[in-house]
Amino acid sequence: MIQKIGFNVLQVITVMLLAPLLKGILNRWKERLQSKRGPSIFQTYFDIWKLFHKDQVFPETSTWIFRITPYIVFAAPIFVTLLIPVLTSYPLFFAFMGDMVGGGFVLALAGFFATLAAVDTSNPYGAMGASRTRMVSFLAEPVFMMVFFTVAFVAGSTIPYIVQQYWVESLSNFFEPSHVLIIVAFFMLIIAETGSIPVDNPSGHFELAMIDESKSLEYSGSGAALMKWAGSMKLFVLLSIFCNVLVSPWGLASGQSFGEVLIAVPLVFCKLLAVVTLLVIVESSFSKLRLFRISEFLSVAFIISIAAVLTKLLEL
């Protein structure tokens, strides 16, 4: 049991340390694909390091909500990490504390506090960005629900480890149409939730067009560092759910020994890089959607997830 707790802690450390690197590689590759030189892949680490050494400034109108939000936003992906398979294919100590819906709730809690804090600053851009994020997430909510519903229906459970076991069992389960449709729908969700093109432009500097970014505009110093770090961890966590639970458990450690779990770290990271490549291609080949077209994007995701249930329900 001590060993499993140890692996769980290792999982959290992996996510915390490698998440900025993943984000850095994503940014670098995106710029490279657009024929620019791009920042160093370690840029996110430098940014976080720099911000931790700066003083914090709080808006005069802000209350305690603004102050505690970075900690909640930072803690949420760590809690989710405890619930999902990041390195091992067998359940760890905290695996049965919550299912995928629980993980979704924890991430939603962070989103809720980030929204409150943005309104709390009384900066008009903050409130605008917050309301837009809410719009995107309430449109994404039904898709989340349908994805979880389908997963529960197909695999008989929403615990990520069990879902993953079901889809590894045999090749025919993997090639089920409902599985493929769920993969597509969840990928669209990741795009919406991490604020990538075509839903949002993460590298934009124009406040009026921002969706996700404008919520953390007012943060400075360590608050900003935590928000930035949390953003990259959220990306890491969502991509690992996508990779490890829904697509392929390749590279996960199946043995109990410490060495095997340690080797899983680079293997899983390589797998995540493959998804990052896909994300980079998507981000570079589409343009950002107009705000009211986002509902179309997410309704496509919704329809795909419903089609997944339908094909399963009617035993296609």
Partner: protein
């Protein structure tokens, strides 16, 4: 070489993707995207035909796959590009009489409806027939819906072709030993339909100056 057992597993996947691509047809606003989706859909149709050919050990279905690639993936898009190039590459958005989110919901309802009406027919059949017949019927209905909703000639033509693909998708599973002559006739029918409608569209464009046929709803005297 694939073995028939794996082909039987892969066919539902192709069916699911076929349905997914058809939803894409409902969700696009540009003509060129609709043409690309049609090409993708035809490719999936030929995949399914080849897989079913493997399952049923039927030479005719391989022929269907080859004919589909030749006519629908190569010939028709090339013809459309040659004849209606300017119209096809137009960057403007197609006028729709129903918004995309509601259209998608309607398409979903049609899919459910297709399953319900096909269920008594395919109850005791093989999985291939269940998959192909239900998905094919769904695509047929969605294509018909798209024709009604789109208000321009070229997107309507693409929707008609999608409908035809749906009918073929259902057909290849029900009649795996369809005589070759019927397949050839069907395949060339499609090309002729495209030629006729393409020329008609071209003429409308020359006369009226645009192809928004949805606006052509009243007669002018004199």
């Amino acid at each position: 070489m694939l073995d028939p057992v794996l082909a039987r597993h892969l066919n539902p996947l192709v069916g699911g993707l076929f349905l997914l691509v058809t939803f894409g047809l409902i969700a696009t606003r540009q003509v060129l995207a609709a043409v690309r989706i049609f090409i993708l859909q035809s490719l999936l149709l030929s995949f399914s035909a080849a897989l079913l050919g493997l399952v049923n050990n039927s030479f005719h279905l391989y022929a269907v796959a080859v004919i589909t690639v030749a006519t629908k993936v190569l010939l028709i898009p090339l013809f459309l590009r040659g004849r209606l190039g300017a119209d096809m590459h137009a960057r403007r958005e197609v006028t729709l009489s129903v918004g995309i989110p509601s259209s998608l919901l309607a398409a979903l309802a049609l899919t459910g409806f297709a399953y319900v009406i096909m269920e008594p027919l395919v109850q005791s059949a093989d999985t291939d027939i269940i998959v192909n017949a239900s998905v094919g019927t769904a695509v047929l209905l969605i294509g018909a819906y798209a024709i009604v909703v789109r208000r321009e000639a070229l997107p309507q033509l693409m929707a008609l072709l999608a409908m035809e693909n749906g009918a073929f998708f259902a057909g290849i599973s029900i009649a795996p030993d369809l005589p070759m002559i019927a397949e050839l006739a069907a395949a060339f029918d499609v090309v002729i339909i495209v030629v006729v409608l393409g020329l008609l569209t071209k003429k409308i464009d020359e006369r009226v100056g645009h192809t928004t046929v949805g606006d052509l709803d009243e007669l002018k005297e004199g």
